[in-house]
Symmetry: C2
DNA sequence: GCCTCAACGTTTAGACCTAAACCTAGGGAG
DNA sequence: CTCCCTAGGTTTAGGTCTAAACGTTGAGGC
């Protein structure tokens, strides 16, 4: 995966991509490219960075997302499948699979919910509790260093612009 | 997948996530959350939007990425596996699988490269050429509408900040 | 002329996701 | 009491990705 021999054909600057489409499909609107291409690339680069960091800790992003949602919910560190799906922005089917893997690894357990007999309560085990604490500390420290490329004012502006773009599409 | 019954537990604002970690793990640095959470969410929302748009056209994002990279390269609309991997930011293995699916669907063909006997030339078929033209027009028009939530100055600023963040991590 | 190593592709194992089918448990209408 | 519909979960089919193992094919050293 590391390094491709960059034989003159690496990722193009957004302006070049827009110019290429203008040539191939004259008249097509290209102004979104200047925003979305950097967005895809930043998200991908940061996701890879996160994956590498987590791999050293024996976790993956999906499992961390599950465990950290439970941990952030506070005592008694329990949420239903449905609640997890809503907070993590994935489908209930995906949660079901994540929980199955995490349960296999002893990080969570499934119990009958006290509230409703239909619901399933996903509970963080002691091992899961400890694991997510360590991982989140490491991850937040690492990511703090990455966003340090921007000063506080720029970070604020970037977060706000992304939130507006995200809600515009949602 | 549509709508979760939002039983009071939807996606939290970044500030609340940061507060929860400060409570669970006192002293942990949380300032990256204000940038990265909106970034993940915007990327995910826009990716879903793109998936829906492409599904109506009978394409998926991975295939479009392959076909559009070939189309943007201009005549003779041919690149090697390695060149495709470099430009699309995925591994050569992923390209190999994408090409296999696209070839099965008659959108590209594999030929021996004229330049090197080791290399494989992936060539856009007429069907692939037409398909990508239609899809890219539809997609760029749709995405133009999405980024219209930001004015030109904001779009410029957002693209520049994302580019800096992406290269800082890369 | 051989040998070895690097480059190019493909394949495989393991994880992940969505959409859709499927099961079960309750609640409400009659 | 029964029937049906809905909500919560799980399962399955199909597609996606990475990392790593595995063939080949050239190219350069000796």
């Amino acid at each position: 995966m590391d390094d491709y021999p960059l034989d003159g054909t690496a990722a193009l600057p957004p302006a070049d991509i827009a110019a290429a489409w203008e040539r191939e499909l004259p008249g097509v609107p290209t102004s979104s490219i200047g925003v979305l291409t950097p967005l895809w690339r930043a998200a991908k680069t940061l996701a890879e960075e996160r994956r590498r960091t987590l791999a050293r800790l024996g976790l993956d992003a999906a499992t961390l997302d599950l465990l950290s949602t439970l941990r952030r919910s506070g005592p008694p560190y329990t949420l239903t499948t449905r609640q997890l799906a809503a907070q993590t922005l994935v489908t209930a089917g995906a949660i079901s699979q994540r929980v199955a893997r995490a349960e296999r690894d002893g990080l969570v357990v499934r119990q009958a919910s006290t509230a409703s007999r239909r619901a399933v309560a996903v509970v963080l085990t002691d091992a899961g509790h400890a694991r997510v604490g360590t991982a989140v500390r490491a991850l937040l420290e690492h990511e703090e260093a990455l966003v340090a490329a921007l000063d506080p004012v720029e970070r604020e502006a970037l977060g706000a612009l992304l939130a507006r773009l995200g809600t515009a599409a949602g």
